[in-house]
């Protein structure tokens, strides 16, 4: 079965500093990986994805993620954090199933950016 792990429940970072939210995956075959962000009492917003191609993927709001096949990781990064980046972040892996293309999510990492 495919899975993703987010080892940190919470990440704290000062505004202006770089941030990293970690994700590792376990899949059979090629990985299809995603990052989503959730603000309180809201639905999830898509940030970026890795399907194939360049290992460094750029997404919305200045976020990027680095796909590392040897380490089976897909860490989310941003060079300079903003207080408004504070939210819950989810890593996900997609399972291709006869059209359903299901997502399996990690447990989420709460990012807190402080002044």
């Amino acid at each position: 079965a495919q899975s993703v792990a987010q080892p940190e429940d919470q990440v704290n970072v000062a505004e202006g500093n770089p941030l990293t939210v970690k994700c590792t995956y376990s899949v059979s075959g090629n990985p299809y990986l995603f990052w989503y962000v959730q603000y309180p009492n809201r639905g999830l917003q898509f940030l970026l994805k890795y399907i194939t191609g360049d290992n460094l993927v750029k997404g919305s709001y200045g976020f990027e993620a680095e796909f590392n096949k040897s380490q089976t990781s897909f860490h989310l990064k941003k060079p300079s954090a903003l207080v408004s980046d504070s939210a819950l972040y989810f890593c996900a892996v997609m399972t291709l199933t006869g059209g359903g293309n299901k997502l399996t999510f990690g447990t989420g990492t709460q990012l807190k950016v402080e002044l």
Partner: protein, 113 residues
């Protein structure tokens, strides 16, 4: 671009009462549709998905059912709610003509008392 509507936004229901949550989408045709539940503000669990009208796949056996009576309508139901059905219910879609990402609606907060 596509839009996902969910209603109601919040709902408080007694144990044993029926449930109907509705998801409708605009700006797309023949999408894949999904129902997720998020408990305790964290983990997301896929409940059902649909690849077309009348086609429902269930991921987890439970007290809930889903239906897709129209291409852009996805309904989550229960005949008798349990306390454990409380949570944040999210509808999502994937447009087949685009890439693989899913887009999520605003969610329904269900509290079973």
């Amino acid at each position: 671009s596509q839009t996902i509507h969910q209603w109601p936004a919040t709902l408080v229901q007694p144990v044993g009462s029926p449930l109907s949550l509705e998801c409708t989408v605009e700006g797309t045709s023949n999408p894949n549709l999904y129902w997720y539940r998020q408990a305790a503000g964290r983990g997301l669990q896929l409940l059902f998905y649909s690849v077309g009208i009348g086609q429902i796949s269930s991921e987890v056996p439970q007290n809930l059912s889903a239906s897709r009576p129209q291409d852009r309508q996805f309904i989550l139901s229960s005949k008798k709610l349990l306390l454990s059905d409380s949570g944040f219910y999210l509808c999502a879609l994937r447009e087949l003509a685009r890439s693989y990402e899913q887009y999520f609606g605003p969610g329904t907060r269900l509290t079973v008392t």
